[in-house]
Symmetry: C2
Subunit: 303 residues, 2 copies
């Protein structure tokens, strides 16, 4: 990569949009992280207006936190990582936004997460939180698996695990499948006494509602509940396969992030589990690296 | 049952509410079926106002079809079969409706389907259409299994089968699971070329959107596609178990209704498949029998 003459005072903002919140970090190559800000939901697949609003809220809070004036936003180069912008129409819509930044560079949240996890270098990342997906970048080549959304994709994620727990409990409580202690756990969780009680509580719930139930599956698996063990093992097998698929392009590092990364680890294939390394930086720092790289600024590592 | 002196000229209307349409049939004990009417969606779980409106539309069309005057609705005794009225709050709300009928009797759509299927006698019924559920009545005792809704329940239904097909295709197209011809079927169905293309088409689809894909699973299973075979067999196993559970109270007959009843039949346990008998009457006639029984009129069979 050709490195421009570094403008020592150039400010960057890295923005990581997510389904529940938006994080922004302002960074100077000479002074490091100057400030951070937290905004609301910023998943453009769930609403463009809301996303742009959350980006501006997190930006303004980061400016405040950094002791900068509001109008200094015009001097800052922004890197954005947002879900769904691999869809060309959505990418174009956001790039057409009359944004306040000096320059703006946009990529997927997976890409910025990966850049952050490996501190600007090549690598692979698996996200297992409410949803699940995998991404790797090696010498400019990228691959991307999973992330097809609840309930049809995102195996091994919290939402998938919660849904499988509800399905198994309803079948058990109807006397139509194997007994599982998940049934009792979910009845207690919802303060109900019947299958229909559980079904009513979950009717129309979004993926995040199901993801809240994932911890019951891990707890039941620890108690050797056969049904819970099968769910956890099936989810972990999918995540292990996802990792193997990403490793086909030989990324030098592999990280897992998201709420299920830690509890799932011990259930992964031993070969995969031992390869997993902690992410070095969060996605918003990855978004800063992405902006630096896009402007051909020399990447100055964030400490 | 005590039989009242039959009022020869008493008119009944049977109403079967469903998620996509509402059917009404007007019946006279002396003259048989006088007329029928078809209204819009009438599932109170999806909207009470809309349900009452669809009931009135189907009623008015049935009155017209029968050559009756609009005000004669006040002389008719109504039987209603509606989803969700096993929830006491919903039952009460509908019973509080300032309805136009002489008398109104309300029960679940499953109950009226069962009464209809067995021509007013005891029996069991399994519905496998967009959703799935089972119901049986023997000597006044009723049992009710499944019907917990998409995507957490309703195994063996069209929506469940469609969802399983999409899940399997996405995993296959990512190279993360077994090959299946369902992937090609779904890509052709949606005129897309990638997993993400399928995922985008299905994002936010209701259960009926998934149910439309069920036929691809049967077609692939006929071609001995292992993945499709597994889906069909798993669905059929659940429906067979549902049937066995219903048979525990010894219903004299068992019927299956809904769009999947016929294609699923050959995949059921042989013991169950040979027990399944055609429904004798549709649910709206079951609703008429229910109204007759509720008013202690002698049930006069509909021919």
């Amino acid at each position: 990569m050709m490195a421009k003459q570094v403008e020592q005072d150039q400010l960057f903002i890295g923005i990581d949009g997510g389904g529940t919140k938006c994080r922004a970090t302002i960074y100077s190559a000479t002074q490091g992280v100057l400030g951070t800000g937290l905004g609301g939901p910023a998943n453009p697949l769930h609403g463009l207006e809301r996303t742009l609003e959350s980006i501006m809220v997190s930006t303004q809070l980061a400016l405040q936190d950094a002791g900068l004036r509001v109008e200094q936003v015009h001097d800052i180069i922004a890197g954005l990582g947002l879900a769904g912008v691999n869809i060309p129409g959505l990418y174009d819509k956001i790039m057409q936004w009359d944004h306040p930044f000096k320059e703006m560079y946009l990529t997927t949240d997976l890409h910025t997460a990966c850049i952050g996890a490996h501190d600007g270098h090549d690598g692979a990342v698996i996200i297992t939180g409410t949803g699940s997906c995998g991404f790797a970048i090696v010498n400019g080549e990228t691959v991307n698996y999973g992330g097809h959304g609840f309930a049809q994709g995102d195996m091994g994620s919290g939402a998938w695990m919660g849904l499988e727990a509800v399905k198994a409990s309803l079948v058990d409580l109807d006397g139509l499948g194997p007994k599982t202690i998940l049934s009792e756990s979910l009845k207690q969780h919802f303060h109900v006494t019947t299958a229909m009680g559980i079904a009513e509580q979950m009717a129309g719930q979004p993926s995040s509602g199901y993801a809240k139930l994932a911890r019951h599956v891990f707890t039941a698996a620890e108690q050797n509940d056969e049904v819970a063990l099968q769910i956890v093992k099936q989810g972990a097998e999918y995540i292990s396969n996802l990792a193997k698929r990403l490793l086909e392009i030989n990324p030098p590092r592999l990280s897992m992030i998201g709420g299920l990364a830690e509890p799932l680890n011990k259930w992964l294939d031993a070969d995969i589990a031992k390869l997993v390394q902690l992410p070095k930086q969060p996605p918003e720092i990855g978004a800063i690296y992405f902006a630096m790289e896009s402007t051909q600024h020399e990447i100055r590592k964030v400490n």
